[in-house]
Amino acid sequence: MSLKPLLVTSFFGCVAIYAVISGLYWKHATVQEQNRPHLEHAETQEAWFKSLQDAQAGLPVSSALAHPMNLAVLVQRPPGVLGQFGYSREDLYPSAGTINGFSNEALIFRRYELEAPTALMHGRLDLTFVVVVLLPLVLCVLNYDHIARDRERGSLRVLLVQGVRPITLLWSRVFYCSLPSLIVLLLASIVGTLAAGKLNWETCLSLVWWCSGIALYWMLWVTLCALIAACSRNSLSAALSSVTVWIGLVVVLPALLQFTVSNIAASPSKVQLMAVARAAEADALGTLDQREEAFIAQHATELPQSVENFSDYYRRAYLSNASVNERVGTLLDQYQDELSADLRLLNAIQFVSPSTAAFRMLQAISGSGFERAETFQNQARRFFREYFQEIGVATLQQRRLTLAEARSIADFSFREPLAIATLSSSVAGMCVFVLVFTLVTNLTALRMEGTPD
């Protein structure tokens, strides 16, 4: 291998290793953070269950302790199976939420948003970035003038006369120069997975998917670089074409796609949600008596008939939050429907930008990005709705939950989404690109046999 490919590939390898190491560090820190005891609640879940057990054993326990409204559940989104490879903006999305009887749907994920905005805007250097943005650049730098330099020197004619087939010359040079970068990435991925912790079937399967995804994207760029190399007349035009293609596909097209999506599918404003929740909260306080009657009417069979029993603090808080949830929930459901439609639109139009498709594919495989974070929030909200219903009945009946009821309510675990639609549309799009580029490159190379210049 000559000096240029060696230097470029080595530098690329160093960046990939750095990205993997910093991803591993992030994953470790996130897991540690999620395992920390949650100190901001007066009554932790452990203490709550202890009080409930004591109460059921007949020991004297204050009525404020182990009250259904105080059953705090921490819902958490753990880092993805290969989350260390796609952690760039993971800190932007809520990864934990606190649920208790005093929460409402707008407040579940309220947290201290401490990250510096500049840091969030720039994101972090993760392996997904290295693959999607840097790999194409490296391939362009390594492959742009495989044929042009021979054309320029006139040696292409000599090579053809000597019996070399342009198609063989082109592909052998392209693969020879490009293969090391793929090997570097695959090795970095394998090492990054092994170093992250214990291997299981799920991790191994994700790793296979991840490596296949990288290989597909690599193949796409290899065929594209071969096409540029085959078509360019001289080194300068080859360089210009490579840079134009890189900027067009990796920078401008994804940017325009993102711009289009964000304008066509305007995402709901969190400020608007906050304002709705605020207005609902104020209304709920003002119309509490009516809410109370409405709730009693809906749950007539489950509640004691005496209305006087409900005039306590917990009941008021519960009813107030029920009212807020109803209004916020409607807005969130509406948002959810819009989001599903937007995602369908994105899956349909992402073909125009292979880098966006690859970016979303790698995020889906590694377990990171907006869609996974959104799935988590939906699961948490659904969980909250069931939870709220369950504790509502007990709160209004002025009784404690049974241990079995409490255990079944307090159990939340995040189910990894299967982003089949995203994956299939991304993979299909890239396969089409690979096939088209290969075909055109081969045709160009074949034509070169007749007209080398």
């Binding site: 760039s88 903006r89 969030l120 300068l236 993102q258 305007a266 207005a279 979303r360």
Partner: protein, 476 residues
Amino acid sequence: MQTVILEVAKKELLTYVGDRRFLILCVLAIAITIAAGLGSWQQISHAHTIRSDAERTDKTTWLEQGEANPHDAAHFGRYALRPVPPLGAFDSGVFDFAGATVWMEAHFQNPPANRAAETKLLSYPFATVTPAWVLAVIVPLALVTLLFGSIALERETGSLRVLVAQNASAWQLLLGKGVAAIVIALLLAVAMVAIALLPVFGYRSLDIEFPRALALVAAFLLGYSSIAGVVLLVSSCATSGYKSFWTATILWILMAFCVPLAGAQIAQDAHPTPRARSFASAIQQEAQAPFWLGSAQYEEVALYEAEVLTKHRAVDRTSLDLNRDALVLQAHERFANRVYDRLYGDLYDQHIKQEEVLRMASALSPVLALQRISRGICGTDTHTQVLFAKSAEEHRRKIVEQLNEDMMYHAGDQSFGYAANRSLWETIDDFDYETPSLSQVLHYYRFEIATLLAWLVLAGSLACAVLGRQFRGKLE
């Protein structure tokens, strides 16, 4: 001599006009700017409407909360809503990545929350298309394609030898080419800033400050001149056209993408922000528990009581009929505020330190320096965000104190049974925040401005020196 420079500039301009690549890039850049301008304006206008609605809702909710205990009202709280800067449509900067609201409640300081970026469907790296992005990232690329061959291709084709034989001097050539590039850059900057700000006429609710728009043009002109200087330097040093092109393009990639990303990476590694849960625990353990469960309350309340009595020249609490509960609540505010000053002070210090790292990084990249100045002028930078957060906190302290004092002086023995009404709620000021003035912004970003100037002077004089040396016997 001036005429020579103008002749060179004229010839360059004629060449640019005939350069298809450059023309295509310009047309593309202008088309993207128009689309970006319209899209950004729509988004900013939407954000502005939502903010106004939310502000109205908050005020109505506050005023119409009915009769309530003042301290309960302090818990009910108010929201400080970040103003939407009109020039955010030109450069959204960190706007979407920064919290838009601060909840101002009793006992707790909150950081800004509700970041718009959380709800964006796609988060592709470095891809927020705004007019500023086109101007700061794509136009420098146009300058690269325009200027990479200005010396290198002349050398390659041999025309440089003839020019030297015709007695052209290095600085005349460079200055002439530089002037041409700057004329193009100025035209582009003015045209594109104007295009980007054009939709303002469709959104009359957002007023653009004319001096800020002018400052933007000036900043971009300075930035482009520096970048043109760098490309001319590369072109002077490179031995062939394609080497010059690769070097200039790689430099552009470094300046536009790698330096900002690496700077942000180093900033986050060197000055990490605390994790939310650890921060919440720290608040619980340092601002809440020691006062409500520990021994800090006694001393703090005594101190505050003494201060109040001194202020009113009273001997004891009973003579003023002060409510003890309210006294304790306000004493806690004073106690907690000291903790918040430390915890949030450290937090915002980290933010500013991260900014400082990026500021240092901008010394390596005129593109980053230009982006930082642009964000500052548009009021969408981290500095403005931190000032907003601090201003909201000041306001929170003021309104909580006002409400607690009302309870302290008027509740008497009723304590939490005491209720105030709309007349008290009306005395609470609305949150009002002015973004830093243009002169403050320019002062804050003086390093970046100096950086751009330094790049211009350094690159220009180095290019002159290199080319001059070549003209004196090192042309081959």
